[in-house]
């Protein structure tokens, strides 16, 4: 019940694993298992990283990617959750829409890349569109499922204690679905981050995905790996930020049963 105390092994053990991984990487590059041009050493990557920071490209790429993923994801959250709430409360509408939503949910958003480019050209818009397509449908489905899971006795209580419609929404439905929706936000944000990188490789101009693509075209494997490291780290940070939502006292119940 009490949150586990943060112990020193929580830092020591992962650091140890990282160190060993770094060591294996160094050894492999020293042994020249692959030529330097296709297997950069940690040192080369570090130099490339510094170079990218100095010339400002790294910041530019990170900002571009984060802007696109945030915009697309926010659009999906602010339309997908209300849509899920509405469908969750209307059985007939749910029956009507569910097959279509399921269809799109199972369609990889990357399949839309050609259309995204043809419809929205190059730049932020096609990527935002792809992020939206990747996040909207899973969020709708998760919200519908969460609404369906609300025990009906909660609505009975709301009725007994004279809650109005708006109050029932804000004080019963929303808090009741919050834990499940937060879990789904974390999963969906992870997918959105995967998609932004993939989408930028093809339709991008700036952005971390574009940087990967650009480095590959320029045969700069050191820069490629430094972008990869950045992508992975930001992915972890995004999840960590969303993880904070699960620490709100009034949603803890959803994770401790």
């Amino acid at each position: 019940m009490n949150p586990k105390r943060f112990s020193s092994t929580d830092i020591v053990l992962p650091s140890l694993v990282l160190l060993i991984a770094l060591l294996i990487w160094t050894v492999l590059s020293l042994l020249k298992v692959f030529p330097d041009s296709v297997f950069p050493s940690p040192l080369a990557v570090a130099k490339g990283f510094v170079e990218e920071v100095r010339n400002g490209r790294l910041v530019e790429d990170v900002v571009a990617s984060l802007f696109r993923v945030t915009t697309g994801f926010a659009l999906a959250v602010f339309t997908g959750i209300p849509a899920g709430l509405w469908l969750g409360h209307h059985a007939r509408a749910r029956t009507a829409f569910l097959p279509l939503i399921n269809f799109f949910r199972n369609l990889s958003p990357l399949a839309w890349i050609p259309f995204a480019i043809m419809w929205f050209g190059i730049g932020d818009l096609p990527t935002v569109f792809l992020i939206f397509m990747s996040s909207f449908f899973p969020l709708v489905l998760a919200t519908i499922a969460a609404v369906a899971n609300i025990p009906s006795v909660y609505f009975r209580i709301a009725n007994d204690y004279n809650f109005g419609n708006v109050e029932t929404l804000t004080h019963v439905t929303l808090p009741a679905i919050a834990p499940q929706v937060i879990t789904s936000l974390r999963v969906t944000a992870g997918v959105a981050w995967l998609v932004v990188v993939a989408a930028e490789m093809i339709s991008g101009r700036a952005g971390l995905g574009f940087a990967v693509w650009d480095a590959r075209n320029g045969l700069r494997m050191d820069l490629l790996v430094s972008s990869m490291v950045m992508i992975g780290l930001i992915g972890i940070v995004i999840d960590r930020i969303l993880l904070q939502l699960t620490k709100i006292p009034s949603v803890r119940w959803g994770y401790e049963r």
Binding site: V153, Y161, G254
Partner: protein, 247 residues
């Protein structure tokens, strides 16, 4: 003022193809504690839903004079609200915050959960949660309390503890009570009158009056005797307990 706050007159009710009640009549006096026992699925919960006016009878009349609160069969505390917030739902009709605070503090003292005011339901034991459910239903000025198997999910000892707790709370804040239970001991220990229902369509099979002041002990001879009478009535016991003692 009517001295029969709850009255069911010649009520019939069908839910879909299920005939739950046919010509059921029952009335409950002010301040009376009535326990309703009967086989599962016979319509006990449905009877409470009729009494609280949540559903309407197909035919007949249901009268309910007074403010009703119900405690449900399943956990119905809002898990996203603290103990205080959950109990305060019962005080929504009050405007004055300091008056609310006073009522809430008194109730927390009564259920001995002063130190758990800011805890969430999942941080409490089953018995504590059930005390909060009772507190939410009892707080504020209500007249009628409907209890749907409130202790059935608790272990035996906790259940006995909760009976004493309920009797103590009702001693402080008297109410007209209808308790649905499948526990005949519980009914005999707590109620002024026990109504035994038949299988569907449910009729009143027999009634037992227990003229004994509340709260009472589980092993009080009159309570034990009533349990025996009911079990005999249901064909589950045959020899009289007096005979067993005499032997």
């Amino acid at each position: 003022m009517n001295d029969k706050p709850l009255r069911v007159e010649d009520v019939s009710l069908s839910l879909g193809a299920t005939v739950v009640f046919q010509h059921l009549s029952l009335s409950i006096g002010r301040g009376e504690f009535v326990a309703v026992v009967g086989p599962s699925g016979c319509g006990k919960t449905t009877l409470l839903n009729l009494l609280s006016r949540f559903i309407k009878p197909t035919a007949g009349k249901v009268e309910c004079n007074g403010r009703v609160r119900m405690v449900y069969q399943h956990d119905s505390l809002f898990p996203w609200q603290t103990v205080s917030e959950n109990i305060s739902l019962g005080l929504r009709h009050l405007k004055d915050p300091s008056e609310k605070r006073r009522h809430l503090d008194a109730m927390l003292r009564l259920i001995k959960l002063e130190n758990f005011a800011d805890h969430y339901p999942h941080q409490l034991s089953g018995g504590m949660r059930q005390r909060v459910e009772l507190a939410r239903a009892l707080i504020g000025d209500t007249d009628i309390l409907l209890l749907d198997e409130p202790f059935s999910s608790l272990d035996y000892l906790t259940r006995i503890r909760m009976r004493n707790e309920l009797a103590r709370m009702l001693d402080q804040m008297p109410r007209t009570v209808v308790l649905v239970t499948h526990d005949i001991e519980e009914a005999a220990q707590l109620a002024d009158r026990i109504v035994v229902l038949t299988d569907r369509p449910a009729r009143v099979c027999s009634q037992f009056q227990i003229e004994l002041p509340r709260p009472r002990e589980l092993t009080h001879p009159r309570v034990v005797e009533t349990v025996h009478e009911i079990l005999t009535d249901l064909g589950l016991e045959h020899t009289g307990w007096q005979q067993v003692v005499a032997r």
